[in-house]
Amino acid sequence: MPAQIPAVDYLVLGNEPHLQVWRCDDCSAAYFDRRNGCARCFGTAFTRQPVASEGVVRAFTRVERGAKEPFTSVVVDLGEGVHVKANLRGVDDPNLITPDFKVRMFTYVVGTDDEGTEAVAFAFEPVGS
């Protein structure tokens, strides 16, 4: 099996791939990026924490221009103050996205570099698909 690397460092690979956030130790605000401080409470201590892999679509669009291939972008509310932006697979018609639209995360190989290492990305799909 070729070596794999997560396409972003907040994706954890393994038997149960999942996303993780930096939680502010003081106020629990959640961030995906490397932090210097907390934008809500100014705290500077953070702890890595796994987050849910299922959530509800909060916002969406279908990008038709400016992309190699059209794609559906979603902002997913994963609960506990965590929102993530990602692609939604399996829904090409945005009219199908309705309030309380539930989705779950999955991973896929997004590319391979010249040394044969596979980059693994994540996306979402409708629950039940």
Binding site: V8, A39, A59, R65, G66, K85, T98, T117, A119
Partner: protein, 398 residues
């Protein structure tokens, strides 16, 4: 210290694409027009704030002086995303309120040409060896892999978030574009003056759903300028200048407060609501007192949200508000009678100043065919990501 600040001169170039001109040609045209409008010369101006985004590291304020007159006054080169122009106006206003000058000049100028949709994607070479980079430790291009963060997609998603909460339809979003393109047919300074039917708008190429091409603002070139004046100075000026002076009743600038998810998907609402609340309080007016509004319709979806954010409609009622015809020029609260960013154009640094030009021109009763008769109070709003929001409330002189 001055208690009130007044607009005594304003001008704007036509917005469009002017490849034969450079940034300074546009800035000089707007500045000269504003000086003439105020019956002043550059030697009387005590401060220059020049707003521009794409050439901001070229010290464009001093470049303008090089072309028009070097008087040794303080120059502020201002950049604040799409709120750049409004921020330049606010810099001039604060200097007057601080007692540093009695006459301030704010200019906004941009030359974008035909550079495609704002923030449009550029293809980059793929990395040969995956190496985590940046604050997200990414090894691949994130745009299109992890959703979209380009402006058309961001504002589309802002719109669908509201739609999921309040049941707004694509047709209701499209009505915004219908209205603003219709309004622009009366504005000779607009980049486009072409009416589109609702059917044409809905059938046009989808850029980022629900926004089709006529629901997205164009890129372009243009400039606008305003001259601000203190109470004390106004009293010394020509009676005709005094008669045409327009009061700046509120000048507010906000940025994003923290909200959950705000660093994932830009929150264009909270800072606009905060700015509006502060502006209404400072001016002592409410949404029902407004005779016209120029707001930041960079995409049709955005305008609908700002009806709600600025308190023009009932909470959650932006869809019904456009259906009622209220924001059309013959409606209850005319919005973007200039044609808005969608049709008048959006040369980034100029936009915030041009919105004030539009309001002032109506309050003076000088807007010609597009005049909102009897206008006494107007609001100008801009927002830039991520994120700055400027709101100015202007009032006709009593």
């Amino acid at each position: 210290m001055s208690n009130n600040v007044w607009v005594i001169g304003t001008s704007m170039t036509r917005f469009g694409r002017f490849g034969e001109k450079d940034l300074m040609d546009l800035a000089v045209e707007a500045t000269s027009g504003a000086l003439k409008d105020a019956d002043l010369d550059l030697g009387q101006i005590g401060l220059l704030a020049l707003g521009n985004v794409y050439e901001t590291n070229s010290h464009h304020g001093q470049r303008l002086q090089n072309q028009m007159g070097q008087t040794g006054i303080p120059v502020y080169n201002v950049v604040n995303a799409c709120a750049t122009g409004a921020t330049a106006v606010r810099v001039a206003m604060m200097s007057i309120l601080a007692g540093e000058t009695d006459l301030g000049l704010a200019v906004g100028v941009e030359q974008m040409g035909k550079m495609g949709l704002i923030g449009g994607s550029k293809r980059r070479d793929e990395k040969k060896v995956y190496t985590p980079k940046g604050r997200y430790g990414s090894v691949v291009k994130t745009e299109g892999t992890f959703g979209t963060n380009l402006m058309p997609g961001v504002f589309a998603q802002a719109g669908t978030e509201y739609a999921l909460q309040h049941g707004v339809t694509q047709t209701q979003f499209a009505k915004v574009a219908h209205k603003n393109h219709l309004h622009s047919t009366l504005n000779p300074l607009a980049q486009y003056q072409k009416e589109f039917s609702l059917e044409e708008i809905l059938a046009a190429e989808v850029i980022a759903w629900p926004n089709t091409l006529p629901m997205c603002c164009p890129t372009g070139d243009g400039a606008a300028a305003v001259i601000l004046c203190s109470d004390a100075k106004l009293a010394t000026l020509d009676p005709d200048v005094r008669r045409r002076a327009v009061k700046v009743s509120a000048s507010v600038l906000t940025s994003d407060p923290y909200v959950d998810g705000g660093q994932v998907q830009a929150d264009i609402n909270t800072l606009t609501r905060n700015a509006a609340a502060q502006a209404y309080e400072k001016a002592g007016v409410g949404p029902a007192d407004l005779d016209l509004v120029e707001l930041h319709d960079c995409f049709a979806t955005a305008e609908l949200l700002h009806y709600d954010n600025l308190g023009l409609c009932e909470p959650g009622g932006a869809g019904e508000f456009i259906d009622s015809g209220a924001p059309y020029r013959d409606g209850r609260i005319p919005v973007n009678v200039s044609g808005g960013l969608l049709s008048k154009g959006h040369p980034l640094g100029a936009t915030g100043v041009a919105n004030i030009y539009e309001i002032v021109t109506h309050l003076r009763g000088e807007a010609g065919a597009r005049q909102i008769e009897g206008a006494k109070v107007g609001l100008a709003h801009v927002i830039g990501l991520a994120s700055a929001c400027g709101v100015h409330i202007l009032e006709k002189r009593a």
